[in-house]
Symmetry: C2
Subunit: 335 residues, 2 copies
DNA sequence: AAATCGAGAGACAACGTTGTCTTGCAGTAG
DNA sequence: CTACTGCAAGACAACGTTGTCTCTCGATTT
């Protein structure tokens, strides 16, 4: 086999096959200008030594400098929405033989910068990024690396973005509740610094205004416990809502818990933004405005690979539509 | 700024700071044998040129050859269990400034081999692997790379493994149902080629035998629809079970659906192996034997980093215990 | 005052690979 | 028989970095 000093190199293969270094390189890279018998000897040596090219050296020397690796930075794969986005990107990468460096940002701008920079330094060919911070101008210094934003646009960095039609989806949800007779519809939203939260709120706001209704609710709710507390307070207040529109996954779950605890889940309506597993098995089943995270991930990955393959041209914005899925919780009349 | 030919190199920084290449290298690597004023000039040049070391070149030259990257290969991050394992590994890596290459295997042995080899070739320092195939002997040819198996042991490759106490957990679940008066307890299991499925079945089998009860049920159920069909068939059969013990997440959900459809969810008991989000909000809430995926991921990552840091010694096996969480669905008496 | 020492800083080679150039050689035309 | 063409295959340099060696120069020792 090989020497005691690490994995076999091209030089070892060359020696073993009795040819020059460059001939091995040619065979390994599938060049056709090698005599068949030599090529066969080289391939045999490659197999017997278990040779794999050193990717660092290859990247260092090659002119195109492709690492065939992309980075994917999302908020948290533990959230089913982001898990689905991640999977879609990975599947798209897999089809192209590209590998994926991944990281969860946990809504931490510092972490976003650190990881984005580190990934760029590691010579990823591009990145899919769901930005956490308000500002992505730091990306200007990472040298023209293709980036596609997903779920949220960048603060101040022009690049392709794949977004859900948040405002339209929120408007549809709100209209749905209104059409079922509700007038006191509370909105529960995530941090207002998040673009998604603001967009969905805007859709709600416009629709309420259009119907002559008074918007109210709570913001800055990022996880289920916060949402649960907020919903509980609203239910106990003087002008309790007859329906909730929740701006996000985790908030929906918090509201669900609050309604359970108050025993109001069969009489206060609820529509959630973003679908989640088992929503159909709850009692009542939860009406949602579903996003399409798989389409978002695939679209983002495709756009990224187009950029990597040389597509220039102005930044593009891809809108992925939502779908209202009535399941029961959003179809109560007001009590 | 820099030339039109790609990102700035150490040479550019050296020229800009008026020092030699090696001095820049020393400053960048935090060596102390550089005069303060020179070091300051170098750092200024680094900042102004936005220089980042080329990690490929660094790895090529450095003696220790650490890429500060690990690979994580799991079945599917879309499954909350694996998402949690992944997160735990990533968090542990993050604390050490190590990056993560990830991939989903989808239960495909071919894909497992391809990705494991590719990751090894990409000079990851080690890997956390939930094996899909029956045999990991191919790992012998990737040259002593530290590997830690998680969730499932390897077929024929000795290495550290982090496992759930599957048999004990399954036994506890079965005992729980028996102690609530059940005698016709059906087991619904995943592919029997999976070690986890076999272990859980064994725990069920032993406990049933110990109580003098007759085991029955179905195997080879990998997703919710398959489990739903199997549960439906059992419910409609001549000796319908009064309780189900489901061997896995997705199976539990399939059973849930079958019970709903048959309107039996308030009278046929169910205990699931592995917890899942919203189990507590269903009607009835679902009793489970919870695994601890976070502990599994953290333990696996720690073991891996110990190996990477030079720990030799025989393969270790870490057992992560389960917890029975009674929530309602497992506490019905037989009807 | 000469010799020694040590620390800072540069020169050079090497890591494993690929781009470019050169060589060798067979086949063909003049 | 010489000159040219074309193609296979090797020699060599270079990618960006770090390990090792060497050099310089001022400070300390005898």
């Amino acid at each position: 086999m090989s020497a005691g000093t690490g994995p076999p190199t091209m030089r070892d293969v060359a020696r073993s096959a009795g040819v020059s270094l460059k001939t091995v390189s040619r065979v390994v890279n599938g060049e056709t200008t090698v005599a068949p018998d030599l090529a066969a000897r080289v391939r045999a040596a490659v197999d017997s030594l278990n040779y794999r090219p050193n990717i660092g050296a290859t990247m260092l020397r090659r002119s195109d400098r492709r690492s065939r690796t992309i980075g994917v930075l999302l908020e948290d794969v533990t959230n089913p929405f982001f898990a689905a986005v991640y999977r879609a990107v990975e599947d798209e990468a897999r089809e192209r033989g590209v590998h994926v460096l991944s990281g969860c940002l946990d809504d931490d701008p510092q972490r976003e910068r650190d990881l984005a920079r580190a990934f760029a330094q590691r010579q990823t060919d591009g990145m899919v990024l769901a930005p956490s911070g308000p500002d992505q101008s730091y990306l200007g210094s990472i040298g023209g690396l293709p980036i596609v934003f997903v779920d949220r646009p960048a603060g101040s960095f022009a690049s392709d973005a794949v977004l859900t039609t948040n405002a339209q989806g929120a408007a549809e949800a709100t209209r749905h509740l209104i059409s079922n007779g509700h007038r006191r519809i509370a909105f529960l939203g995530d941090h207002v610094r998040l673009w998604t939260a603001r967009s969905r709120y805007q859709g709600y706001l416009d629709t309420m205004a259009g119907a002559g209704l008074v918007p109210f609710g709570a913001h800055e709710l990022h996880d289920a416990p916060a949402a649960e507390a907020a919903a509980e307070a609203l239910l106990a207040g003087p002008h309790a809502p007859t329906a909730f529109f929740s701006g996000q996954n985790m908030i929906t779950i918090g509201v669900l818990r609050a309604l359970r605890r108050a025993g109001r889940h069969h009489d206060v309506a609820l529509v959630g933004f973003d679908d989640f597993p088992l929503a159909d098995l709850l009692e009542p089943a939860v009406t949602v405005v579903a996003q399409d995270p798989v389409a978002m991930g695939r679209t983002a990955a495709r756009a990224l690979f187009e950029r990597i393959d040389g597509e220039t041209g102005p930044p593009r914005e891809f809108q992925i539509p939502t779908t209202l899925i009535p399941r029961g919780s959003g179809e109560f009349p007001p009590s």
